[in-house]
Symmetry: D2
Subunit: 428 residues, 4 copies
């Protein structure tokens, strides 16, 4: 059987193929002369499988899509305080205001605009690194996100550098405000190098999937940045990733995303997948026309909008029954599904509203797939309170979805692999 995913991607590409609106970026020949009809999409799951369709092998410069990843590297290398002191996290609102520095401090509003991205570029790597070493650190880091060694397109690099007046203006302004502490020309050269790295949609899909997978590259298994850094990076992408159309993107597509002027576009679906598209014609915001269309379709088809409230989960309590009788009598509460806050609360409520009459209480996790952190704490607190109320508490946990249970002061729990170990004479 062939997986339906490639077919789906190919069909999605076909559905937008006819749209020839927009134009390639015109400020350097290397971008202006790109084949405007190129079209590709890639998807990487959080367990590391990559699908792609269209011109998936074609490489193009990463441009602004490098911004969230270098921001992540800066957060990882220097810490949150050092980065936030120099770059904000607020959407800039204004498109035409190409400066977007905070009045007074000169701090760029966020790391997704050029001024902020130049700043985070200078914050990657150790503080004492030379500019060359810093660029190496960034290429290493982006390569780690992508899972293969990325190369600089020297021709794009030189062409962009020779047109980089606006970025030099920004860097000088940043230097005037002591937001960056070095020669502005050097900072711009390094930043331009970062933007000239060559990627294809597979690379970008893996990079986005690394964000969707708590910072661990799902293909190579290498940890690139921490989950905390990922959370910050995705948050900034969500509010600032699409320039002045942040609100529009959030309502219509609803995933953290970033676009690049060469036609790339990525989205990260936390816990699920990274997605990338490539089509060089841009709209007036500088986003890929067909890329935006593809993401709107993905959202509609895949329900990946962050604000999409999932349909009601099945009841976390699958069954409540009393096993055995007399001395060995046990109240068994059988749970199911992925348990998060709401599931944990439901279980706690169950014990409050219907206090067990039996001395022995067993909670079966046999049908439970996962228990997240807050749910784990709530279940263990429920165990502790039951103990304090005089109950003997048991967990039936054949797959160890709740490892090392420690119910806290006064709590006590016995773990069994199978309900039979309760010796109550019955099964759940």
């Amino acid at each position: 059987m062939r997986s339906p995913i490639p077919d789906y991607l190919a069909e999605a590409l076909r559905s937008v193929e006819a749209d020839q609106s927009g134009a390639t970026a015109d400020y350097i020949p290397e971008l202006a002369d790109a084949d405007p009809d190129l079209l590709a999409a890639g998807l990487c799951t959080v367990d590391g499988h990559v699908y792609s369709a269209g011109d998936a092998g074609v490489e193009f410069s990463i441009q602004s899509i490098s911004k969230p990843f270098v921001c992540a590297l800066a957060l990882a290398d220097r810490g949150f305080d050092a980065v936030l002191e120099k770059v904000g996290v607020e959407p800039s609102g204004d498109a035409f205001n190409e400066i977007s520095l905070e009045p007074g401090s000169g701090r760029p509003l966020n790391p997704m605009i050029n001024a902020g991205a130049i700043t985070t570029h200078t914050l990657a790597g150790p503080e004492e690194a030379t500019p060359e070493a810093r660029v190496e650190r960034i290429i290493d880091g982006l390569s780690a996100f992508a899972g293969r060694r990325l190369q600089v397109d020297e021709s794009v690099y030189h062409s962009e550098l020779s047109h980089a007046y606006r970025n030099r203006a920004l860097a000088n302004m940043l230097r005037a405000h002591d937001i960056i502490g070095e020669d502005p020309l050097v900072a711009v050269a390094g930043y331009t190098r970062q933007c000239s790295l060559l990627v294809n949609v597979d690379d970008l899909a893996v990079m986005a999937a690394t964000l969707a997978n708590r910072g661990i590259n799902p293909v190579t298994g290498a940890p690139v940045v921490s989950a905390k850094v990922v959370r910050q990076t995705l948050s900034v992408m969500a509010t600032c990733g699409m320039y002045d159309g942040a609100g529009d993107w959030m309502t219509r597509v609803g995933v953290p995303a970033k676009s690049g002027v060469a036609g790339g576009l990525i989205g990260a679906l936390p816990g699920q997948a990274g997605i990338a598209t490539f089509s060089p014609r841009l709209d007036r915001h500088g986003n890929s026309v067909r890329g935006v269309e593809l993401f709107e379709r993905f959202t509609a088809d895949m329900g990946m909008h962050l604000m999409e409230v999932p349909p009601a989960a099945p009841a976390v309590i699958r069954d409540r029954r009393v096993l055995g009788a007399g001395h060995g009598k046990v109240l068994l509460l059988a749970l199911q599904g992925d348990i998060r806050f709401a599931g944990g609360e439901r279980v706690a409520r169950e014990f409050q509203e219907r206090p067990p009459a039996e001395k022995r209480v067993a909670i079966s996790l046999r049908r439970v797939s996962s228990v997240d952190d807050v749910a784990r704490r709530m279940l263990l607190e429920a165990v502790r309170r039951l103990t304090l109320d005089g109950h003997d508490v048991y967990l039936i946990d054949p797959d160890t979805v709740l490892p090392d249970p420690e119910p806290g002061t006064g709590g006590r729990v016995t773990v069994y692999r199978h309900v039979d170990e309760l010796e109550a004479g019955s099964d759940d």
Copy 2:
């Protein structure tokens, strides 16, 4: 056993109690004279259980927290196009720019600023409704969100109306741009009435929980707005709900939220819960000081940040084995957990990478808690392709997590309640 939730809420309140920074709103005596030490928190689960702690019974005026709900009513009553024609969805960026109308069109940037909220006020109810009927529609609608009849605080209403020069300025400006089509004074009076509705933290928690529950009030069970309206409303809250601190809130708290000048603050945790706090002292942004602290704590404790990538879910494929032998031989793929896009993809990939040699293929959903829409479509597509490849396909679905399976053209599937019905002579 007592539920740990009220204890948790009480303890959270205690942890912020000492902070007396900030000040009550000072523009009307009714708000200025509020007891600044009042402090409460409420939580409502998506299955309708309400917890609260502190001064939970104290009523206060809803103020700006009414904005997302009235925006939802307008979207429901007039449709997306009619509303978006008159109000944008972009964060305003600037705090001090109290006008925030699009140059030229005069369209308010979003429905969470006053200009936008006055506009959505005029868009609630049927187009031909009188202003009085419209206010009634809004009170009815907000009461439906809250699950009880809300009352206007007439003293707050009259006091605010007599100080509403800024809102009258906005309404006149909107009228000048034909964003609203009626007497600006009437619009402001209605909007002020909307803001003067009295609520307590329980009400607000239920209102937020209705958003977290796809628009269905989890306490009364009444459908208030559609899931599509909820998605739009939550999106706008996420990017514009906290004024000029949208990015800061998104990175630090990470839930769609809205604050009010009387000291209320709500957050909606999609699919989980609605949360509300109340503490009248405000920071310079106009948000409740201790409310913001409480939400930061809730996020840290409950892992409710939208960009928090969940830890890797357990493998969706719990087991793959061949049952029986010879003629009756069946390949059984046993799945588990809540299956979303990534799970569906994994199953499809399994059949592609390891094509079944057996003619009969069974997929057991016995340990599956839920299958979302995209996963359902992928599983059924896999069934169809298997059929086309010449297989006989079976679903073992004792709890009907995949009702009415229709694999599409060329596909065929037989559903059993128990694996024994396969008559292969084995069990999963």
Copy 3:
């Protein structure tokens, strides 16, 4: 002989007649339906003679041209401090920013934008005046500027008032900032009444000439406002009178001016004349297209640009000679022309560089037309110093251009009508 002025005006009108670009104001029918071909110009000299050409008898609403005059009335009635506390004097720079209030204080940037004009409207007349009395004060004041009783066009008034949403927005914003202290609707009604006063180009020329004549109506001779108020009013017109084109107007035309949306335009040529034009088609700034062209022509033809440096005046010292001999010998310094600072300085320098050897020194003012204040002080100081140096000093002043000469401590001067009175035996 016919004066060439009317011919000049008529010829100027003919030269712009063909230009039909621009459009009448379209926000009320009364302005939109004005005959767009109407064309007139008027000029009033500072001695009160009025010339006009074209449709000089046609009346139109004064609109924004009322602003500088009402500003002058407010300055006269309440004093500079009271007015400047509420309205600034800075150009607004931005055209599209229709609000232009100082961030924080809410003070309108200047009295030539609507927000500032509404504010100065409320500052005319005594503080305790009723709104009705204040409107009467304004009509009286503008009538005094015009030299005849002006009437309100009730139809324009009612039409504008029914469309005055933007002005109501401004007035409410001003009220919110306590810039105005009364009901915003009442302020807007009064301001609209002020704008609806009917004038023709003769009226406007006289009004402008009153400013050009130190505040004294040159036709009626009535003092309307003080010279100090006039200076302030002309200064504000010079920097803010032409909206966002202030710098363009200053460089190209160079006279204090004000335009109105009904097609009027005035300019004041200090000490010379007031000029007015009328042509209803407006450019995108809201200024009369042909009015602007006419003023550019007037500037070129009449050399009325404020920054036009006059060609070098003839030497103030017409002659220096010694009259008589022996005992009666007198040094006679004969001056000429209008003496201002530079002339006074020249005379002082003459005595310093070429100290008189004669005991008797006479200064003849017979050929002097005028002596301004600073020149008077300098001449008298020179007299005083000559006295202290031991000279006897005489003024020959047949026309009393230097009345009541008081040279200050230690100075002494004898005034003669004719040089013969010196009894030196010669003539100048």
Copy 4:
């Protein structure tokens, strides 16, 4: 006798000496370490006499005071169109907006802000000049304005250049918008050199006096720029010379002016004098505190406010009488003073309102000091019309204040040196 001017200047300095508010510019040591108590004033008349008081010999860097002079050089060298294409003439309104480029075009709002000054720097000299030649042209030009060779302070130059990040930012932004066409670093280096020229108050007074004297250096007699360039330069100084306080300066001082960050301040009094002050402590706008106070005093004392309406000039018509009788009868109209537009109009009106009965009409200019351009044209037009009405017209012009009178088609005039030449048998 000693001239009272130096005493006046010295007394003015004494009156502000005690004010120690403000602070020296702190961005480079050379300015920060200036002696803050230095205080000087200079005045140069339009006939080239220079007065000064206080620390008049102390040199300091010209800084922004170079801007209007280099703007004048650019206008002279490239023409108005070439300059206005690249730099506007509008006040920027906003102080904190250090960029002030027109949205879209990137054109600096005016040549008095840094972005505009860098632009005009690149427009000085011939288009093909090397940057070095251009700097030489500018030093030559400013030296011509000052009347002596100015020198660059190399230490200030190098110090400023090493801190010139903001100017580099501006220059790069200008380059990005193609407002300047060269290497931004080179432009900034040249501009910084221009700002580092050393001047004292005497130099600045002469430079300002050159503007006040139609572009001719009154000390050296050298023509530096044309009267048309001067008019444009003074206009821009009047509206943009004092940054965001343009309106405040215009109302309170009322002369075209420019300040520099080293503490210099100049004002030009068209047709009268140039004035300069020096005191290093600056207010928050960057203007010299005591310099501003001195100018306010000068305005009050010298009546030099541009909007100060001069008191009514004496009647232009000194006498009207009939000389002789019978055949030789002549109507003699004797004029006086400086005749400008208003005087010319008055004469024309005289002939219209009281048409001469006599065939012979004589106009005596014996008591007239000057006739400006428009008045000359009006007088000659009156002569022409009188001729056409059948009169014989004579001018009595002993001092040739109306040289080469050509009354135009149909007009004819006879010029006499003395009234006796009329042979009417009488005197005026």
